[in-house]
Symmetry: C2
Subunit: 263 residues, 2 copies
């Protein structure tokens, strides 16, 4: 097994092979292996990971390991982690951390970021607002397909999903969506206006997660836009977060049913 | 409500507005409305749908409505539906239809297609083989990024997902994956070899759907490749089909639990 191999390499202090093996693994698997180690060992191995992988691995750690890492790393390293973390993972992190660590995190945020974090912390649990992320690709109706693709090429790697792009007007109202699939197969000179899909299914920030899970199951969407009462785009929810919700809801239903059965 | 509006337009025989409204709706919603109507009315409205939408709507119909449509349409229309249907929907269709309709469907297939259909019908229920589809984008290691994008532009629209592309060698063995995201942000002159992700997580045709659902939940994948015993790529499973499985499995677990409780 891969886990066995990794643990052996750590034991043998064979950091060259360890680094190579880790860099080829999936982030979820790496985080699971490191999660069970002593925090000093975790930190040592964590620092060997390729930078872009490290943040992903970090987001899958238990709150205890995350706290240990934040406590131990330098300000520069912490800033890198916080900058690269997806916004929804950042909110989860702040919700889980003790006050002293939250303060350390907030000290690295700008005033604008703190305002946004505060806004997100106020959404009710199990609401669309608490599930959504702000990393999405925003396009304008009068861009051409080529301009849209250039925009994605420039900013795309830091977005959670680039496969559905959201078209907004100057007041940030949601006007429609365009899939990356459509962009890739369309002529570069075409206008977004010509290929936009305007009849979009969306949810509002206060809608409940069970209702949202049902929309995902019904339509098979990859992502769903979240708007405020004025239909301004405020975030998106991606299918992988909804799979977790489906799991949670099923477990909850079970527990209710188990509680009803005579013991 | 939209449904009310559609039913009124059908009642009023206002086909111009009906056609317009339907063409802007989501296929799942259209199919749900039509599914409850008399089969003669369904056929009438079904024929008004834009061609690319019609096949999607058809795939969401109940087996009874599907049988009614196949029975009533011309050979030319049937051929179009069958040609455009995703392969996994085609297999589902054949499994649900009575013998006389299956014969009508097979009469429209080539010898090669019939061979493939037979192979797929043999996969055990709840196995990877029974869930997978054969519509995926296949790339070669020595293609450039630009060649890959051109290939997707040419063939992409008929594929179920183009967001993960599969790299195979000349014996169709799976060598790795490349996401469309990576293709879009890479230089056109780069070689697939340079951006391929070789350490791929995959399943085998006979693996069980519950195990597959767990892999999707764990990693948040959009699609998962399915290989045979020789690691040759035989299909892919997409996340939307797995959401249905998760729902089924939860219901099954419920029923088992309910059966165990005293009535």
């Amino acid at each position: 097994m891969k886990e066995q191999r990794i643990l052996e390499l750590i034991e043998q202090k064979n950091y060259i092979d360890l680094k190579k093996e880790l860099s080829e693994m999936n982030e979820v698997d790496v985080s699971e292996i490191l999660n069970d180690l002593d925090s000093s060992v975790t930190l040592l191995v964590f620092r060997m990971l390729p930078k872009d992988m490290a943040v992903d691995v970090f987001s899958h750690f238990s709150p205890e390991q995350q706290a240990g890492i934040i406590h131990a790393v330098s300000d520069k390293e912490l800033k890198y982690i916080l900058d690269e973390l997806f916004f929804d993972d950042m909110i989860d992190l702040i919700e889980e951390m003790p006050a002293n660590i939250v303060n350390k995190i907030l000290a690295h945020s700008t005033a604008d970021e703190r305002k946004l974090i505060n806004q997100f912390l106020k959404y009710p649990a199990h609401s669309a607002g608490s599930l959504m992320t702000i990393e999405y690709v925003e396009l304008k109706k009068n861009m051409t397909v080529q301009e849209a693709l250039d925009h994605i090429k420039e900013f795309g790697l830091s977005k959670e999903t680039i496969y559905t792009c959201y078209v907004t007007n100057k007041n940030r109202k949601l006007e429609g969506i365009v899939s990356l699939r459509k962009l890739v197969v369309s002529e570069g000179s075409k206008c977004i206006k010509e290929i936009i899909h305007e009849d979009v299914i969306y949810v509002e920030t206060h809608d409940d997660q069970e209702e949202i899970a049902n929309i995902f199951k019904r339509y098979g969407f990859m992502a769903l836009p979240v708007v405020d009462k004025e239909r301004r785009l405020t975030g998106i929810i991606t299918f992988d977060d909804i799979m977790e919700v489906m799991e949670q809801e099923a477990t909850e239903d079970f527990q209710i049913m188990a509680a009803m059965s005579p013991s």
